[in-house]
Symmetry: C2
Subunit: 349 residues, 2 copies
């Protein structure tokens, strides 16, 4: 069991599971040696309200990369980048990615362009052009729907605009593999889906999220402009932190250049995304069950007004909703059986 | 599978396995949620010759502990501290340990007093009195023979001085559980060992290392001043980094207040040390085999003169000798069957 090295560059928190703490352990369970560069060293994630700790400066990051390079320790087969605070640090990472891509054209680089969620940016806008500059260096990107909209300047409101956004990412930004990690399964999207890919009884907006995998890299399939797969997952109530970080780590860990076990219609990308979706959803379900079984004062629902008056309220809720990665490690190590659905005719007008 | 939380405070390296990188993954494999505070964020360990990255200041560490405390995130059942650079940072950790011990008298605190090895200090001497002040707060300590000598001011050259060193640690410094992680099995020590604990054909100094576990905590056994166990391991050629960090993590992870599976003469401590010894030695053997199978230029023997002329020589050797933790994770998760030997009559004059 030796799958090679992943270099992971993201935030670190002492307590809980976001950033590197959500990504590194799963990759280690899958058999990867993970080189871990921490962009920040915080006490806990920002959702607790109170958090802090040192951030690595661009100069510090560059110095670490430089020493590793001079020591011939910069030969990862895979690269994973997540949340990086601020434009200067992100530019330092961009320089590193350029160097790694030049040294190794076969590098599998998963770029998670962490910008925001649900219509809100949570980074400074100066990082957006830097992320755009990173896109052509990536092998896979895993934006959520909001990040796709920010990167492409396209509002996804119907199948035509979804197609347009994917086309921009593949053709203008030269991203071989685009994974929209989650997009609410609204009526337009539900109706556009092939019947087999629809949830059995979806009749309300917001009950389901859809993941979309679009691979333009799989030239052997002669697809133009890409092979598209989709799968829905049930939306669990409330907010869990670190889910995107876990998902991206599992995608890069399951993305193999050799074809996956034979299953009709699967691509290298859709196989990886299906594994990542199944495992992420299993961990989330375990976390949801754990949180639901806590004493009432530890699972108070989100209420911004009450949270503002009593910060401890939010802290208790956050603590109960940390991902159950350790308790779910057997799930992370096992092979998941679910697949994604081929979206035949996606590009047909 | 939920064994509670360990707070681990030690160094971090991006590449390779020392400090937290050697300790955290094994504890996670054993089922612990690990809270990880990084005292430094280095590129790689210092054995490579070239290394660097930011160190957390005492103020930064204190701030992280303080925020965690105010967020009610400072309730670990176990605490593990390893390499901490410099007196100021160590003093910040000492304050934290005092607070945790006061909040939770049941806290299991494993203190690895990282001072040096093989007769050489590799920390600044100002940390020695701080480590001495930490001793009475610990549950278990895991010094190597040199660190025992530095902490007690006793040279261990015969059974009487070994007894004296252990007595000082238990009685003057009030350490309930002392583990001498390794001491060369010289003739005086070999001859003092109970016959069952001797290696089958040990006739040369330096072929074997001995681990000694001395528990004065196990009051039910009515032992005065302590129950002593020992076990030898074969000494593998060359130097491997991070071994002590892995060993200490496994000791704290296997130290259970409930008695271990019944085996004649085992104590809670000797059970934990036996598990840690077996697993550490298995990982070391895998690492040694891996290193021995590398191309010749990656396994050049230690030669300070040649290393000085060609630093790449040392780097290649170090890289090939990083612990095979990921590849050996099944060993970490499994139950080891070996035990330690009871050293009956250890305290008899």
């Amino acid at each position: 069991m030796s799958k090679g090295r992943v270099l992971s560059i993201q935030s670190h928190v002492a307590f809980g599971y976001v950033g590197g703490k959500a990504a590194v352990f799963p990759l280690q369970c899958l058999g990867y040696d993970v080189d871990v560069v921490n962009t920040v060293n915080f006490s806990n994630h920002s959702g607790y309200g109170r958090f802090g700790g040192p951030r690595a400066t661009a100069a510090e990051l560059t110095s670490i990369f430089d020493i590793m390079d001079r020591n011939a320790l910069l030969w990862p087969e895979r690269l994973l980048t997540g949340y990086i605070p601020g434009g200067e640090a992100l530019s330092a990472v961009l320089s590193l990615v350029r160097k790694l891509r030049e040294k190794n054209p076969e590098l599998i680089y998963l770029l998670d362009p962490v910008l925001g969620d649900s219509g809100k940016l949570y980074v400074s806008p100066d990082v957006i052009p830097i992320y755009r500059a990173m896109l052509p260096l990536s092998t896979i990107i895993t934006p959520n729907w909001f990040e796709v909209e920010v990167l492409t300047d396209v509002k996804m409101t119907d199948l035509a605009s979804l197609r347009q956004a994917l086309r921009i990412l593949h053709e203008e930004h030269h991203v071989p593999n685009v994974v929209i990690s989650s997009i609410p399964l609204r009526r337009w999207l539900l109706e556009a889906l092939p019947p087999a890919a629809r949830p059995p009884a979806a009749d309300l907006d917001g009950d389901f999220l859809l993941s979309i995998a679009s691979s333009a890299a799989d030239a052997a399939r002669g697809a133009r402009p890409s092979v598209v797969h989709a799968r829905h997952v049930t939306c669990l109530p409330g907010y869990f932190s670190g889910v995107g970080d876990l998902f991206s780590a599992l995608v890069v860990g399951h993305f193999h250049s050799a074809p996956p076990p034979p299953c009709a219609g699967a691509s290298v990308l859709s196989y990886a995304v299906a594994q990542a979706l199944s495992k992420t959803h299993a961990i989330l379900s375990m976390t949801h069950e754990y949180a639901a079984a806590l004493p009432e004062e530890d699972r108070l629902p989100t209420d911004e007004e009450l949270d503002g008056v009593d910060p401890e309220r939010k802290i208790r809720r956050m603590k109960g909703r940390e991902l159950r990665l350790i308790q779910g490690q057997d799930v992370l190590r096992a092979h998941a059986t679910e697949e994604m659905y081929v979206w035949n005719g996606f590009w047909d007008q």
